[in-house]
C-alpha cells in the first residue's frame, strides 16, 4: 500500500507544480520570456494568506481571495513597470530584469516580514478520508480537485472566450494579431494577471502541506514548476499539467529512495526527456527555415 500512498502524495505535489507551471507556460507562450519572479509571487501570496488568517483571524477562503487579488495586482504592476518597457529588447535583457524583480520581491519580503520561518496554518482541514489502508489527506484531495478544475476552466477559457482566443493569437504571431484589432499589450497584461492569480491559489495549496514559510521559499518550487513546464513542452497548457504531475510523482518516489538526491533525479529525467524529445513531451517541434 505504500506504493499507492506515495503515488497519491506524488500526484498531489505534482498538481501544485502543475498549477504553478501553468503560470510559467502561459507567460512564456505569449511573451516568450522566462518569468523568474513567478516563484516569488507564490511566496508573497503565502505571506498574505498567513497574515490574513493568522494575525487578522479571517476566514481561510477570504484569505485566499485576498491573496489572489494581491498577487494579480502585483503581477500586472510588475509587468507594466519592469517588462513592458522591454518588449522589443533581447530575451536575455528580459530574463535579467525578471531576475532583478525576483531579488526585489525576496528582499522586500525579508525587510517587511523578517527571515525567521513562519509556520503556515493549513487552509484545508487536517485529516484524511476514512478509507481502509490508503492515506488520502483532505489536502491532497482538494489539491487534485482544484488542479482539475483550473485545467478545465483554462482549456475552456483559451478555446472559447474572446480574450482566450486573443491570447492564442498573440502567442502565434503578435503583428498579425495587432492587425486583427487585438490589443496586444492588454492581452499580455491579462496573461500575467491570470498567471499570478494561479500562483496565489498554488501558494495556499503548497504551504498547506509544506508549512515553513521564508522569503526564499518560493524560488525552488518555482524552478521545479518551470522544469515541469519545459518537461511537458513549454507554451502548451496540457503539457504543463502532464509535466507537473509526472514531476511530482518522480520526485516523491526519488525521495523514498534517497532524500538527498531527489532533485538530481528529477533534473536527470528532464535531461533525458529533452534529449529524446527536444521540445518536451507535448511541445510542437518547429522546423527551422533557412
Amino acid at each position: 500500500m505504500s506504493f499507492l500512498n506515495n503515488l497519491i502524495t506524488g500526484i498531489s505535489l505534482g498538481s501544485v507544480y502543475a498549477i504553478i507551471a501553468l503560470g510559467y507556460t502561459m507567460v512564456y507562450g505569449i511573451a516568450k520570456m522566462l518569468n523568474f519572479a513567478h516563484g516569488d509571487i507564490i511566496m508573497v501570496g503565502a505571506y498574505v494568506i498567513f497574515f490574513a488568517t493568522g494575525s487578522f483571524g479571517l476566514n481561510p477562503i477570504v484569505g485566499i481571495l485576498l491573496a489572489v487579488v494581491v498577487c494579480t495586482v502585483l503581477g500586472v504592476v510588475i509587468e507594466g513597470l519592469a517588462y513592458k518597457p522591454l518588449r522589443q529588447a533581447s530575451s536575455l535583457a528580459v530574463l535579467i530584469t525578471a531576475i532583478g524583480v525576483s531579488y526585489f520581491l525576496q528582499n522586500a519580503a525579508l525587510l517587511l516580514w523578517g527571515a525567521d520561518p513562519k509556520v503556515f496554518t493549513s487552509v484545508i482541514p487536517e485529516g484524511s478520508l476514512p478509507i481502509e489502508g490508503v492515506n488520502i489527506t483532505y489536502v491532497s484531495l482538494v489539491t487534485v480537485l482544484v488542479c482539475i478544475i483550473i485545467m478545465l476552466a483554462l482549456t475552456w477559457f483559451t478555446s472559447k472566450t474572446k480574450l482566450g482566443k486573443a491570447m492564442r493569437a498573440c502567442s502565434e504571431n503578435k503583428d498579425a494579431a495587432r492587425l486583427m484589432g487585438i490589443n496586444v499589450n492588454r492581452t499580455i497584461s491579462m496573461t500575467f494577471a491570470i498567471g499570478s492569480a494561479l500562483a496565489a491559489i498554488a501558494s495556499a495549496l503548497l504551504f498547506s502541506s509544506y508549512k515553513n514559510l521564508i522569503p526564499t521559499s518560493g524560488s525552488l518550487p518555482g524552478i521545479k514548476a518551470f522544469t515541469a513546464a519545459v518537461f511537458g513542452g513549454i507554451g502548451s497548457i496540457p503539457g504543463a499539467m502532464l509535466g507537473g504531475i509526472l514531476l511530482g510523482i518522480i520526485e516523491t518516489f526519488a525521495k523514498v529512495i534517497n532524500t538527498n538526491i531527489s532533485d538530481a533525479v528529477v533534473f536527470a529525467v528532464l535531461i533525458i526527456v529533452l534529449l529524446v524529445k527536444p521540445a518536451g513531451l507535448l511541445g510542437k517541434t518547429i522546423r527551422e527555415k533557412v
Partner: protein, 361 residues
Amino acid sequence: MKKLSPGRKRLVNNSITYGIVIAAFIVMQVCNAGGLLSPSIQGQLVPICAYVVMAIALNLVVGISGELSLGHAGFMSVGAFSGVVAAMSLQSVIPSDVIRLAIAMVVGAAMAGVAGVIVGVPVLRLRGDYLAIVTLAFGEIIRNIFNVLYVGVDEKGLHFSLQNEAALHLSENGKAILKGPMGFTSNAKLASFTAGFILILIALTVTLNLVHSRSGRAIMALRDNRIAAESVGIGATKYKLMAFVTSAVMAGAAGVLYAMNYSSMAPKKFDFNTSILILVFVVLGGIGNIRGSIIAAAFLTVLPELLRSFDLDQYRMLVYAIVLILVMIATNNPVIRGFFAQVKSRITGADREEQKGGAAQ
C-alpha cells in the same frame, strides 16, 4: 582621428583591456600597502578575481558562442572541490604553497573540463531556452552530487563514498576532506590577490586569442547564423563544444581560486543564484564584450560592500535589485541607446560600430 586597420584596432583594443587589468592590480596593491582599503574590501580582492574569471568564462559561452548557460556555478564547484581535494591530499608531500595552489588549479580546471565535455555533448544538441534549462538542470545535479559525496585521504590514497564519513574506511592517520553537505572544512587558505591577478591574465589571453583565431571566427559564425555556417562546412558540435569546454576549464580554475580563499565551504554556495549572479555580470557588462564583463564583475562585487558603508546595510540587496532593473530598462531604451551611440561616435569620430554581435574587445 585617422582610421585604423582592423588588425591595428584589435591590438589597441586588447592592449586597453590588458592595461585596465594591470593598472587596477597595481592601484589595488598600492592602496592595500598604504592601508587605504577597508577590511571588507580587502576580503573581497580574491573573490573579485574569481568572479572576473567566471565572467570571462561565461561570456565566452553566452556572448561569443551565443548559448545561454544557467549552470556555470556547477563547473565552478567541480573545480573548487576537486582542487581542494588535490591541495589537501598533497599537503604533506609538497610543502610549497605556491606549487600546491598551482597543482590544485590544474586539477580543478581539468576536472571541470571533463565535466564540461560530459555536460556539453548532450546539451549542445538543444537550442535556445531548452539549452538554458538543461544547463540549469546539470548545475543542480552537480550540486546535489557534492551534497552526498564524501572524500577522504590516507596512506593508501583517496577514498570515496556516497553515504557518510564512516563509509570511507579511513585508516588512523587519514582525514576526511569533503563531508557531504558540510563541504570542506579546515582548508589551508592558499589563494592570494597576485594568484588571482595571474589567473585573470591567463583567462584573458586564452579568451582573446581564441576569439581572434580561425576557430573563434567559426564559433561566432555559428552564433550569428547556424544554418549558414554549417552550409559552408563549419561543424557546429566541434566548435560549440570547444567554446563550452574552454569556458568550463576557466570556470573550474576560478572555482579553485575562490575556494582557496576560505577555510570552509559548503556545496550550497554554488547554487543557481551563483550562476545567475555571474550571468548578471555578463549581461550588464555587455554580451560579447570581455572588457565590459571584467568591469561589471569587479564593480558589482564591490557594490554591495560599498552600500554597506552607507548605513544602508539592510536595504543593500533591495537597492541592488532596483539598480539591476533600472539599468536593464535604461540600456534597452531606444532614446538612451541613441544618445550613447551619438556620444560615442562624437568622441571616436569613427563610423558607428555594429551594436549586436560585435567582436570581443
